[in-house]
């Protein structure tokens, strides 16, 4: 390999131990440290949101009050949604892994605007703190969608949560702008667009969505906050306003937001699958362009959240057919990933186990997705547990699987330590099983006619709820195991080899963990990142 950007493998100082004071972390402009801080914050958010989810599941063990009253339940499902969507899912892969990896993958020293990058951490923290403050002083009971008129008249404290999410939106915009500019201007010599790693392509598509959609969300959240606190009557039917306008504006952001969550996940999968199959991704261009295709078409499908809201039949048809296109783009990716395995050399390790989970969830979640885009079927499914189960499969299942795959794949790169492979596989199996046990009963519940956000439900639904709760407990144990063995790995883990998976990705070219400035000399790229068919040189150094 003629990649010139290789440093000695046993470099004594890396980005973790070059400075260790708290101040050096809090004021760092190093994209790797910022990525790590986001990772810790995101895992924290995942834990909080997960505990909320578990409490909700336990409440559903019986109809009516089980462990909480109706208002608490309504607040909890709102907070579960807010925390999981805005504090975990949206920043999880772009802000944590994107920050850590994009400069490494394109051979840059840092992102284009390191100070703004640090600011985005603090914006995230500030937004999260304001939202948390709101949660402990009344919370909100509107659902994470904040539908007006209910959100304009709810007696709960919805404003701090809106403001919190608004500020987190800024953090997202800053991250997005940073990535686009970084990818445009800081690619190392020789790294053409068609040589970029697929993860970088996915982050690029994601950033475009973040930059284009988030301002509209910011505006609409501000409008709801004004409506709630001042009664401006923008969406108030009694003053001639139209509450459905809010839904249009909200979903104009929040539908593309789904792709903010899932596109980076697809990027992770392309990287990991190529590495563990030791093969170039089948149809690199198809995968790269379909990311952009999803980013583009994703902006024109928001109306499929509103099939029963009273929009015209024509609108419903148009949005339905456009939604089908997203299914086609996703299908292209799935076919290409599976085809990548053909004639590969497949090594089954923990990250790959999560990739299998990902493929499963994206296929079934995607298929139920085109099913709910079939307008007349959606009339029955809309706002029922079927939709809940569908988006937990595609958006949570897929993103979570990719997040865990990324965590296990790049853990050695980030920390220079190895985790216990056996426990890794055990928890992967537990989590995939638990996820299925939680949400497959919910598909049935939805078919059965169980509406979402129901505190009290007719008795005929009970046994399916009990099954779902049992599954969620399994899921929780799976996560706890991960937390424990990763913590043990950090303290006592075996020192990671320089490139433990034999990856050809550019991020593995530099030392593990990387030094503060990533590369000792400016790297020059002569190959693509996934060229596993090249003769396998033993050390690449």
């Amino acid at each position: 390999m003629s990649q010139s950007a290789v440093v000695s493998r046993r470099a004594g100082k890396n980005y973790l131990n070059v400075e260790t004071s708290v101040k050096s972390w809090l004021l760092t402009r190093d994209h790797k440290r910022i990525g790590l801080m986001f990772l810790v914050l995101n895992v924290g958010a995942l834990f909080v949101g997960g505990v909320f989810a578990l409490l909700l599941r336990f409440e559903h063990l019986s109809p009516g009050p089980t462990i909480m009253d109706a208002i608490t339940y309504n607040r909890l499902f709102t907070l579960h949604g807010v925390v999981m969507v805005w504090l975990f899912m949206i920043p999880a892969i772009p802000s944590a892994f994107g920050n850590f990896l994009v400069p490494l993958m394109i051979g840059a020293e840092d992102v284009a605007f390191p100070r703004l990058n640090l600011a985005s951490v603090y914006l995230y923290v500030a937004g999260a703190l304001i939202a948390l403050w709101g949660m402990f002083h009344g919370g909100a009971d509107t659902g994470w969608t904040f539908y007006t008129p209910y959100s304009s008249m709810t007696p709960t404290k919805v404003v701090p949560i809106l403001i919190g999410v608004f500020i987190i939106g800024f953090s997202t915009i800053v991250t997005g702008i940073n990535f686009i500019v970084t990818i445009h201007t800081l690619r190392a010599k020789g790294l053409t667009w068609m040589r970029m790693p697929l993860f970088v392509w996915a982050i690029y598509g994601t950033s475009i969505i973040q930059v284009l959609a988030t301002p509209v969300l910011g505006l609409v959240l501000l409008l709801i906050a004004l409506e709630h606190s001042l009664g401006l009557g923008i969406f108030d039917a009694a003053r001639g306003g139209d509450p459905v306008l809010f839904q249009h504006l909200f979903w104009f952001y929040s539908h593309p937001a789904v792709y903010i969550m899932v596109l980076p996940a697809m990027g992770v999968v392309s990287e990991v699958i190529a590495c563990f199959a030791r093969k170039n991704p089948f149809g690199y261009k198809a995968i790269a362009y379909s990311s952009l295709g999803i980013a583009f078409v994703g902006f024109f499908t928001w109306g499929h959240h509103m099939f029963v809201s009273g929009q015209s039949t024509f609108d419903a048809g148009a949005f339905a057919v456009l939604s089908m296109l997203v299914g086609v783009f996703t299908a292209i990716k799935v076919f290409n990933w599976v085809a990548t395995l053909y004639k590969g050399s497949i090594q089954f390790r923990t990250p790959f186990a999560y990739i299998c989970g990902f493929l499963y969830f994206i296929v079934f979640g995607g298929m139920t997705g085109v099913a709910v885009a079939t307008v007349s079927l959606d009339v029955h499914w809309h706002d029922t547990y079927f939709v809940v189960a569908h988006f937990h499969f595609i958006m949570v299942g897929a993103t979570l699987m990719a997040f865990l795959a990324a965590l296990h794949y790049w853990f050695p790169k980030m920390f220079g330590k190895m985790y216990n492979e056996g426990w890794g596989l055990v928890s992967a199996v537990l989590i995939i099983l638990g996820f299925n046990a939680t949400f497959i009963p919910q598909f049935w519940l939805g078919n059965f006619g169980m509406p979402r956000r129901y505190y009290n439900y007719p008795e005929r639904f009970q046994w399916l709820h009990v099954a779902s709760t049992a599954g969620s407990t399994l899921l929780f144990f799976g996560f706890m195991i991960i937390l424990i063995y990763l913590f043990i790995a950090l303290r006592f883990g075996r020192r990671a080899e320089w490139n433990p998976w034999g990856s050809r990705g550019f991020e593995w070219r530099t030392a593990t963990p990387p030094p503060t400035h990533n590369f000792d000399q400016a790297p020059v790229f002569t190959h693509g990142p996934h060229e596993y068919h090249e003769p396998h040189e033993v050390d690449l150094a």
Binding site: A70, P243, A316, V321, V338, S345, F364, S376, P451
Partner: protein
């Protein structure tokens, strides 16, 4: 087969005329998706086993897709998805278009109850009595937040919005009782906002309706004598008449056919009116409500634009009552033709 799949998928009974069709599409979509997913899954599994890593220095060939594979990967899902879209959209149009001979019932939703009003008939809370085997059109509005009218057994759902009317329809195939659920989160007691559709044999329904109407008059007589508070159940037309007096509509609009400050209400419904700007409109519910909310939008030729707006002064049910009152004012007492057409959109200025 239908029954087996329905139970396997946990679908509720098929109690409306559209339900079996929708379920058949449901089976078709689910079976094809499961088959396609299974093919993808088994292929992947086959590859895992066939191409597992046998030695650490194994190398792999570079394989790039040809145009045939790409065309197939795009074309196959596209054809399937478009087929589903086409079938689904057809069924959706049917769901969205009430048959012209539907019986109309007004639905008013509020936190956390459903109220049903029959034109010229009684009002009812939480229980919707309908005749089986006759299409019923629901004209729905909300008094506060957004609700959603959901009857799982009928496979219908429609959001109910404040400030405008949305519509849905169904035809119950068998007499029976079917649960109504609210599907759009509407506050603390959202999950208890339930109701029931009681489908009766058509002749039973007619008897029930007559009985209710008689009971109504009886109760009003009793109320007058016993000085009880006026019962909430009133005839919509009568209610509309009272509102028209209370809001002084009748000071400008006569009900005997003579023109006054505004056009007369007699025979107004379904009349062709010439507007000041030269257009003609047919007076329907939409035009009447629009004229109440935005009177200057379409002024009838020969009258001055002096009517104030009732936006914010009349809520949904009141508006509906006045519309029903106007509809009832006809010189010959023939049955008015049913009003088909799109949902009423009272606040729109189109």
């Amino acid at each position: 087969m239908n029954e087996f799949l329905r139970r396997l998928l946990f679908l509720p009974e098929q109690a409306s005329s559209v339900a079996p069709g929708i379920d058949h599409l449901h089976y078709f979509v689910i079976i094809t998706t499961m088959l396609m997913s299974a093919v993808v899954g088994w292929t992947a599994l086959g590859f895992f086993i066939r191409f597992r890593r046998r030695s650490e220095i194994e190398t792999t060939p570079r394989i790039e897709p040809g145009w045939k594979f790409e065309t197939l990967a795009v074309g196959l899902p596209l054809i399937f998805f478009l087929a589903w879209f086409w079938m689904g959209f057809h069924a959706y149009i049917r769901l969205a278009t009430p048959p012209p001979n539907s019986m109309e019932v007004y639905v008013m939703a509020k936190q956390w109850m459903w109220k049903f009003s029959y034109p010229g008939g009684p009002n009812a809370i939480s229980t919707l009595h309908v005749p089986a085997r006759r299409p019923v059109k629901l004209l729905m509005t909300s008094r506060d937040v957004i609700h959603s009218f959901f009857v799982p057994s009928f496979r219908i759902k429609q959001d109910v919005l404040p400030g405008r009317y949305t519509q849905t329809w169904f035809e119950a195939v068998e007499p029976g009782r079917y649960q109504i659920l609210c599907a759009e989160f509407c506050g603390t007691d959202h999950s208890n906002m339930r109701g029931e559709v009681v489908a009766m044999r058509p002749e039973d329904f007619d008897a029930w309706l007559n009985e209710q109407r008689r009971g109504l008059t009886n109760r009003q007589d009793m109320a007058a004598s016993a000085q009880e508070p006026v019962p909430p159940l009133t005839d919509m037309v009568e209610q509309g008449r009272r509102l028209a007096v209370a809001f002084a509509c009748v000071k400008c609009h006569t009900i005997d056919g003579s023109p006054h400050i505004g056009p007369t209400w007699l025979d107004l419904y379904h009349r062709q009116e010439r507007l000041a700007n030269g257009d003609t409109v047919e007076v329907d519910e939409g035009y009447i409500t629009e004229s109440m909310m935005d009177p200057r939008a379409k002024v009838v030729a020969g009258f001055n634009p002096v009517m104030p707006t009732f936006q914010g002064r009349l809520d949904g049910p009141d508006t509906a009552a006045i519309v029903e009152y106007i509809k009832s004012l006809r010189s010959e007492r023939i049955n008015p033709t049913p009003s088909g057409g799109p949902a009423y959109e009272p606040i729109r200025g189109r």
